[in-house]
Every structure is written in C-alpha cells, then in structure tokens.
Symmetry: C2
DNA sequence: ATCAAAGCAAGCATGCTTGCTTGTTTCCAC
DNA sequence: GTGGAAACAAGCAAGCATGCTTGCTTTGAT
C-alpha cells in the first residue's frame, strides 16, 4: 500500500471503511472500560462493533495495531471532552474536572495505562500521549480556574488537584463512592479557592 | 483433608510447606508489579518462586486461589508498612504517606484493582480488603497529622490528601517523575498544614 | 457496463495457559 | 524404622486467542 498513489494520498478511501474503523475503535474503548485489557480480545471487540473478526483484522492486522490506534482515539476523545468544559465558578470547575476522571473514557485510559506498563510495544505511545493530554489538561485547568501561575505554588496546587482527581477516579474503579467524592471535592475546592486567592 | 484432625486444627503443618507458600505469594506480588496481571501466569510465578508449577498447583489448586491469597497478602503488607510509619512533622508525614503509593506494593495492588474490576471472583475480596486498608490508612494519617476530625472539613481534607497520593502513585506507573511529585507534595503539605491549623 | 482494488467473511494452524492425573520424594507419628 | 500422609515434580489433554490464508462482495473509476 505504501506506493505513491495519485495526489490525494490515502485520505478519501471509502466511507464504509472509515465507518467500520470508527466502530472498531469505539468498541475497543468500550470493551476496555467494561472487560479490561485481557478480556478485550479482538473477537470480543469485533463482535461488539458488529463486524467480523476478519474485518477487524483487515483494518488492524495485529491486536497491537488495534489498541495502538485505540490509545490515540482515547487521547483524542479525552482531549475533546476537556476542551468542551464550560467556564464557571471555581467550585463547579473543580467538580467538572473531577468528573472527567470518573467516566468510561477514564476507565478505558486506566486499563490502557496498566496494560501499557507491561507491554513494551504500547508503553512509549501511551506515555507520550498521556504526557500530551496531561499538559493540555493542566493548561485548561489553569485557564478555567483563573489561576496565576506566576505566583509560586500555584502551579503545584493545580497539579496536585489534578492528581487528586486521578486518585478519586482510581478509587471509583472498584466502588462507586460518589457521595464521598462530592464531599472531598467540595472541601478541596474551598482549599484551592483559598490558595489561588 | 477436611476431616477433623487433632485439636490443633491445621496451623502447624510443615515448615517447608509454609515457606513454599510464602515464597509463592511473594513471587506472585513481585510478578504482579513487574509483568502485570495477564503476564503473571502460574508458570511464571512458580519459576520466580523457585518451585515447580506442580508444587504451586498443590498449594493453590487454581490460579484464582493463588491470587485471592495474594490479594490478602498485599493488603497485609501494605497495612504493615503503614503502621511502621514514624511520627514526624507534617511535611515529612505527607511525604512518607505519598511514598507508600510509589513502591512495588502499590504497583501490585494497582494491577490487582484493575484486574479485579473485571474478574467477578476477585472483585468482592479486593473491594473488601481495599476498603479495610483504606480506613486504616485514613485513621493512621489522621493520627500522624495530628488532625482534629471533629472540626468540619478536616476529614475531607485528609481524604483528599490520600486521594492525591493515589493519583501521584498512578502517574508514577508510567513515568517516574519524582521531581514533579516532590514539588507537588511540598505545596500540598503546606496547604494541609494551613487547613489543619 | 466493466474492471480492478479495497472491504469483508470464514476457516485453518500454531502457540500458550490452565487444570488434571500420575509418579516420586520428604516429613512427621507411632 | 516403618507407615502413611503431605509436598513436590512432570507429563497430558482441552480450550482459547492470535495471525495467516483463501475466497466472496462491494465500491469507485474508467
């Protein structure tokens, strides 16, 4: 396929193909969130996407290819969800940020991180993309919170807040403790409010 | 085996047996931290423990039995590490608490959580033990920090701090960013110091 | 309308993990 | 020391996931 095709490189392709590819990626993410890494076999993903396993293997020759693409897909989705956060008062912003870490996207990302920590092939890509999303998250958080990063400690305060959100999301993996989370968020929103002046 | 043996139920057994069992559990935890859940096959664990696979299967008839026991072992180890924390000034206590979330024990526990979130058999036990360890962690943190939980918000402040530690540990899974962590910990220690009065 | 290429479906072969079963060694009690 | 049970080692069969190969269908261009 690598040969030089006419000017229009490879983008146009076929609509059906792009749709199938999209469905496969969505199914991969959903499976990741629901049955984890080991459970997300290509057969399972293909079934969920409503295509045959052969079709899946056509788009992504190897399982690694599929989930490498899924990693980027998740990163893009999370980035998009992030950019769509509305600007509100600080307490609401903190709550909204934390909410980003309790949805299926975060669950999928979490499974991906843990899997990547032991899959040599996945690790670099996940690490790179996560760093990128992390930086973007920090930037947007600073903006939404109206934080002045020139003041000492402010940067670390925001970073810690995001780390806390990650930790809350992790705690949410096993037990859905929304009530506790809400109290913690409220308290720390106040503390952050205080720290940011 | 279930028949009523003499008064001394089943404890004494044989020393070698207990040693082997111990080695298997340690190996299971180490493998969990190093090669993750899917990679921790009983063959791998047995090899690491220096025993044959048959011996492993003798002590733990099924893979599930092995890791169910490993879950409790990890919980006990984490609990013990927790109780051994020295009493110091608040900044040092915060740093020490966070350190609990960056070692191999936490890595193993993390893999266990993620695996348990999709393994019906493991999930209840992990959830239960994690809740127990979580409560103990909170209790000890409160004591070491000299926090007065009767004051409103104090409980949530400590919980949030522990959630942040979890988040830092999670971030540490892929990239070892000790430098960033240190800065965040310093800042948050100050915030906590402030909030606790 | 036709033709070539891409998308898609199904079957096959390989490798790996698990659990069981059989055989050998070590330990404790009598 | 002998007997018996537990601990350990090794081999075997079944199940499953991956990757490959083959053949059919749809698409888009000529």
């Amino acid at each position: 396929m690598g040969v030089v095709t006419p000017p229009t490189a490879k983008a146009p392709k076929q609509d059906r193909s792009r749709a199938t590819r999209q469905r496969l990626l969505e199914a991969a993410v959903a499976c990741l969130a629901e049955v984890g890494w080991a459970g997300s076999t290509v057969t399972v993903v293909a079934e969920r996407a409503g295509v045959s396993r052969g079709a899946a293997q056509h788009h992504f020759p190897t399982r690694e290819d599929l989930f490498t693409a899924a990693v980027e897909y998740v990163a893009e989705e999370r980035s998009q969800a992030l950019r769509e956060l509305p600007s509100q008062n600080r307490a609401a912003v903190v709550a909204a940020l934390v909410d980003l870490y309790t949805g299926p996207l975060f669950r999928a990302a979490l499974h991906l991180w843990v899997a990547a920590s032991n899959e040599e092939q996945l690790r670099p890509r996940v690490t790179e993309l996560e760093a990128k999303v992390g930086r973007e998250t920090h930037r947007i958080a600073v903006r939404l919170l109206g934080a002045d990063e020139s003041r000492p400690g402010v940067r670390e305060t925001v970073q810690g807040l995001l780390d806390m959100a990650r930790g809350l999301g992790l705690a949410n993996l096993l037990t859905d403790d929304a009530a506790r989370r809400q109290r913690v968020v409220a308290q720390w929103a106040a503390l952050v409010e205080n720290a940011l002046g």
